[in-house]
């Protein structure tokens, strides 16, 4: 089922604009992530699609050919996975999964069959009759997913599905979730503030900022070709290089850096993995801090501008603290982005 949003917006009664007019199109079977910092309106957008929040007049939400804008949530046939999972504590795992099917007034056998199928798919067999309180965080997540998926919803909506788990579990369950969503073969939309999570699970990512979708694309597109400094900073932690752009050269306090093209109205961004410690490099900097992170050292460099610039240094040894080093950045790794106010 395709999902189409046309100029969907939301203003709260107190005048707060939670969502500016937003367009979004999701193809059948596509897994799309709404990525953005807290307060950017991504959860509001998800709740409008679910029918839990009423959008401003003039907004339009379509499921395929069906205009659901004014349809209450209980008739929309969406599967929703909540941040807290919101499992019914007074029912068993099986009772939770069967609930949506019961509400559809299916026959006993039909319910039993579908529940068994979903339980197998989500590998929940050992927990069928457990109480919800007797489950671990990861198991709860799977039950929440199974409950939402069991009534064959038209679209699956997930609100920060991994944020209730502790850091150690999150990476493992991220891959499990990605696998399950693909096996379900269902249109899915999920909200997250974690770029790694968005990239690991989604086919397509919509980056949001201040109530607006600022860029939509595959993870690779967003990472390699961000259109705004916000996207560059949020996806892949690009750092701004401070200095004066003159033609195709950036004059920094640590030296002159060659740019890929002339960019007089642009700010220049670079990522830590593209900053190299190189004796032949054009820039001078001082090593301020160094942290061993396994595959590389994260070296903090001062002298390249007011802010510290970090370099991922893959060598076996880190340069000594306080030592002078020379730094190189390949022109192709530099991103020239239109100068703008981040808040707009």
């Amino acid at each position: 089922m395709t999902l189409t949003l046309k100029s969907v917006s939301k203003t709260y009664p107190d005048g707060t604009v939670a969502l500016q007019p937003t367009e979004l199109h999701v193809e059948p079977g596509e897994i799309v992530s709404l990525l953005g910092p807290s307060g950017c309106g991504k959860t509001t957008l998800l709740r409008i699609i679910a029918g839990l929040e009423t959008p401003n007049a003039g907004s339009e939400v379509r499921f395929g050919d069906d205009d659901v804008t004014n349809m209450p949530v209980e008739h929309r046939k969406v599967g929703m996975v909540f941040q807290s999972y919101a499992l019914f504590p007074n029912m068993s795992v099986k009772g939770n999964i069967a609930y949506g099917l019961k509400m559809q007034k299916l026959g006993r056998d039909a319910i039993e069959e579908r529940v068994t199928e979903v339980i197998r798919l989500c590998q929940l067999e050992p927990y069928v009759d457990r109480r919800i309180t007797a489950l671990s965080g990861g198991q709860r997540q799977r039950v929440a997913l199974a409950r939402a998926f069991a009534p064959r919803p038209r679209i699956l909506l997930l609100d920060e599905p991994l944020s209730a788990l502790d850091a150690a579990l999150r990476v493992t369950l991220r891959e499990e979730l990605a696998g399950l969503l693909r096996r379900f073969n269902i249109t899915a939309l999920f909200v997250t503030h974690d770029q790694d999570e968005a990239m690991a699970i989604a086919d397509k990512v919509a980056v949001m900022s201040h109530g607006k979708v600022v860029q939509t694309g595959t993870p690779e597109e967003l990472y390699r070709n961000p259109k705004t400094s916000f996207v560059a900073g949020f996806v892949g932690h690009a750092m701004q290089l401070e200095g004066q752009v003159r033609g195709s050269v950036l004059e920094m306090s640590g030296g002159r850096l060659e740019l890929p093209r002339a960019g007089d109205d642009c700010d220049v961004y670079v990522r830590a993995e593209d900053v190299a410690l190189d004796e032949a490099g054009p820039l001078k900097a001082t090593v301020e801090s160094s942290t061993f992170l396994g595959t590389h050292y994260r070296v903090g460099l001062s002298g390249l501008g007011a802010r510290t610039i970090f370099a991922n240094h893959a060598g076996q040894k880190s340069p000594a603290l306080g030592s002078q080093v020379r730094v190189a950045m390949h022109p192709s790794a530099l991103m020239l982005l239109p100068r703008e106010d981040d808040r707009s």
Partner: protein, 267 residues
């Protein structure tokens, strides 16, 4: 070893004193009940004398009725108030909790003002509706007393319900009826049990209201008072007190085991 062992030593005498202060009277009550001329058989007499047994059953019956009515009314109103923001909501809440400030005597008095011989209803219907001096008057008085208490408990519990549970049920296709039956009621159950237990215990022991309405309503606290003050039958008064206490205490214990330790904390 533990650094506050000294402080604990200071607590000990206080504990002992408090226990004595609370337990001694009860022991004395029990001893009084069996040291009359009937001895232990006084408890047999309680169960076989119609006057006493009827009073006990009537008290339990009216208390149960009040508890159920208060739960039904307070839950409906409490859910509505907790889930809807509108102007005047604060004022309605204040009015609903005003009865908390009035003691049983005044409540009895109120019932007479409304349903007594010179009461409002009697004036309106020109002499046809007098309910103050009946079991129904007592029921209304107790209800008046119980609603605010149960209401506040329900509202506090409602605020603690996770709204996502309700949204989850609705996203799975549940209508209002199913949301209430499958999500809200199970969520409120412990608080309802606790509040109901308190309402029951209060109704079992309410004396001021009954005494003000007086005349021919035989509820247990009234009978105890009569036996003690008018008949000077101390043993029977003590025995009835023990029975009343036991019934109430049993109910409180059962309620507490249903709803966790918070049951009597509302008391």
């Amino acid at each position: 070893m533990r650094p506050n062992a000294f402080v604990q030593l200071c607590f000990l005498p206080l504990i002992i004193f408090t226990l004595a202060f609370l337990a001694l009277p009860l022991v004395r009550l029990f001893v009084s009940s069996v040291s009359g001329e009937d001895g232990w058989s006084i408890y047999w007499k309680v169960v076989t004398t119609p006057r006493y047994l009827d009073a006990l059953l009537q008290t339990v019956f009216v208390s149960l009725a009040v508890t159920i009515a208060a739960l039904v009314i307070s839950t409906t109103v409490g859910l509505f108030l907790a889930r809807n923001e509108f102007r005047g909501r604060g004022m309605i809440l204040s009015v609903l909790t005003l009865p908390l400030a009035f003691p049983g005597v005044v409540i009895g008095f109120l019932i007479i003002l409304l349903g007594g011989r010179q009461g409002l209803f009697n004036q309106i219907t020109s002499g046809h509706v007098v309910f103050a001096y009946t079991m129904f008057g007592l029921f209304l008085g107790y209800l008046y007393f119980s609603i605010p208490r149960v209401l506040l408990t329900v509202m506090a519990a409602t605020e603690k319900l996770d709204p996502a549970l309700e949204e989850a049920a609705r996203s799975l296709g549940a209508g209002s009826f199913h949301v209430i039956k499958d999500v809200i009621m199970p969520g409120l159950a412990p608080s309802l049990v606790a509040a109901g237990a308190i309402a029951f215990a209060t109704a079992m022991g309410a004396f001021g209201t009954a005494f003000t309405l007086a005349t021919n309503i035989d509820v247990l606290p009234m009978v105890i008072y009569t036996e003690f003050t008018l008949s000077a039958n101390i043993a029977m008064a003590a025995a009835l007190s023990v029975v009343l206490g036991l019934v109430t205490w049993l109910l409180l214990v059962i309620a507490r085991s249903f709803s966790g330790t918070t049951a009597a904390a509302g008391g």
